[in-house]
Amino acid sequence: MNDLDGIAREIRKSTIDQIAHLGIGHIGGSMSIVEVLTVLYFKVMDVDPNNPQRADRDRFILSKGHAGPALYSTLAERGFFPRDWLHTLNKPGTNLPSHCDRQKTPGVDMTTGPLGQGLSLANGIALGMRLDKLDRYVYVVCGDGELQEGQNWEAAMSAAHFRLDNLIAFTDYNKMQIDGTTSDIMEMDDLVKRWQGFNWHVQRIDGHDVDAIETAIAAAKAANGKPSMIILDTIKGKGFSLADGEVGSHNMPISMDDAKVAIAALDVEDGN
């Protein structure tokens, strides 16, 4: 088994436990991005948990800011802050608010929440890296429903226009949004053609395959002169049986008992 799969499993378990402690949360869209976060933070990105603000680091923007819990579990696993912080999610005075906040959480590079703003921020960061002659990358994870926000397409234009090949974005294509499937609410297909039409380097892969993600990032880095979009085919709620593939998993209550069952199931999988 790939080490990264094992880490992803731990992050998945930790995210379930984190949300169950609060009793409710954005489990669906957190579960679907665990593998990409794992690959970024444990394989690809140059970051320092002991110096989260280091100027010449790679940067990450979780544009779908509501999936904060998955990022928090990843950052805790990577050592940015103690794991016991995870049980403070959304509690008064916490450093881990529902949506990502750069002023509260060590390792969170950008504040996000209102959808559609992350790609513009990534444009600015990529331009800043270019001005500073930093050989670094800015990574962004967008939701599929999020791409219905028009600002993304303004940012898509400018990233291509400014030839931001240090910008690598992912679409968490779990094909669900709050009110239903993306097909029912607002059709997203063909995402590959849409991004190609904006002159991006585009790949589409299994978003739960850590090796495929790693390979795609390497290919994105090799694509000179163009920003990259890696479309991740994912399953909303992946790995948590009550949420797995369920539209209702966007923001759902989870009991500690549910969490124990789900974590035990992941442990069994781990044993295999």
Binding site: R102, L121, G124, A126, L131, M157
Partner: protein
């Protein structure tokens, strides 16, 4: 020789000069680079001048991203677009995030003139005042514009700068000093205080104090170039001294400078107040003189307002 430079030229030149020794300064435009006057910056520092096309949300988002990299972005567009089209981006990606971004709104209020009602933005001040911790500035003359833009570069916080692009006023002497958050007393007086912001109303207020003087009324005139944070001490001082206030702004009075003064005085030194500005009205097409009269932003209206507050004080 008279200074005939447009305000936009002062804005662009000030940033250009500062950028010679400060490589953090960037300018961002949304297809209004010529209107803002920043082509001179783009010519000198092409790598630090970004034209993002007609995309104001992206304009502000990119500025915020640059700010997170330690840059000092100056993003400009018409007030109507800065406030209405990019408010959430400025609010969340910028101000809530703790990033220092300068947003420049040009063509404020009636200076949109022939672009008409769709472009005539009276509400931006009201909207921006509601952004916590944001500083709002509207200089009325060339010297104060230059000084305040210079101060903005190392200012600890985001700024919304309201800028009349065309024309210019040379009100101040060379030795006048300006600080963000501190109003400047243009003329002292005893009977009534006129507190004005921006070039249109400062010009009218200057005429108004002469007209009042001819009638034996001694009016003080304050340039409240910083709308937020309001210089409450100065407002209180002149409320006590003259007991009658007229606020003048090229903006919506609901939530604007007049409202800020009313809020402050009602909690400190309750004082008769007349607010000159747009009163719950949309904009419309027209030249500046027509619009001044239509929205009662002219010297005659200020004079009438001054007399009304004096009467209320005596009443």
């Amino acid at each position: 020789m008279a200074d005939e430079r447009d305000m936009r030229e002062i804005y662009a030149r000030t940033l250009l000069e500062a950028a010679e020794t400060d490589d953090r300064i960037c300018v961002l435009e949304a297809d209004l680079m010529k209107a803002t006057g920043t082509p001179v910056f783009a010519d000198r520092f092409p790598e630090r001048a970004f034209n993002v096309g007609v995309a104001e949300a992206n304009l502000v988002g990119i500025a915020c991203g640059l700010a997170s990299m330690g840059k000092r972005p100056y993003a400009a567009t018409f007030t109507a677009f800065a406030a209405r089209k990019a408010y959430d981006q400025f609010f969340v990606s910028g101000n809530y995030s703790g990033l220092r971004v300068n947003l420049i709104g040009t063509d404020p209020g009636i200076t949109a003139e022939l672009n008409g009602g769709t472009h005539m933005c009276f509400e931006d001040v009201t909207m921006m005042r509601a952004v916590p911790e944001l500083t709002i500035i509207e200089p009325c003359d060339r010297r104060s514009l230059e000084a305040l833009v210079r101060e903005s570069i190392d200012y600890d916080g985001s700024i919304y700068l309201r800028l009349q692009r065309k024309g210019g006023l040379s009100l101040y002497d060379e030795d006048e000093t300006f600080r963000i958050g501190k109003g400047n007393v243009v003329r002292d007086g005893d009977d009534v205080t006129i507190i004005a912001v921006g070039m249109v109303l400062m010009e009218e207020a200057l005429k108004a104090i002469e007209m009042l003087s001819a009638e034996g009324i001694s009016a003080a005139l304050i340039d409240m170039h910083t709308i937020k944070p309001l210089d409450g001490d100065l407002v209180e001082q002149y409320a006590r001294k003259t007991g009658a206030i007229v606020s003048c702004e090229n903006a919506q009075v609901m939530g604007g400078l007049g409202a800020a003064i009313a809020e402050h005085l009602s909690e400190t030194v309750p004082t008769p107040l007349c607010r000159i500005g747009s009163r719950d009205q949309f904009g419309q097409v027209g030249d500046l003189d027509y619009l001044k009269g239509t929205y009662a932003m002219d010297a005659a209206s200020i004079v009438a307002g001054a007399k009304s507050v004096i009467a209320r004080r005596r009443g």
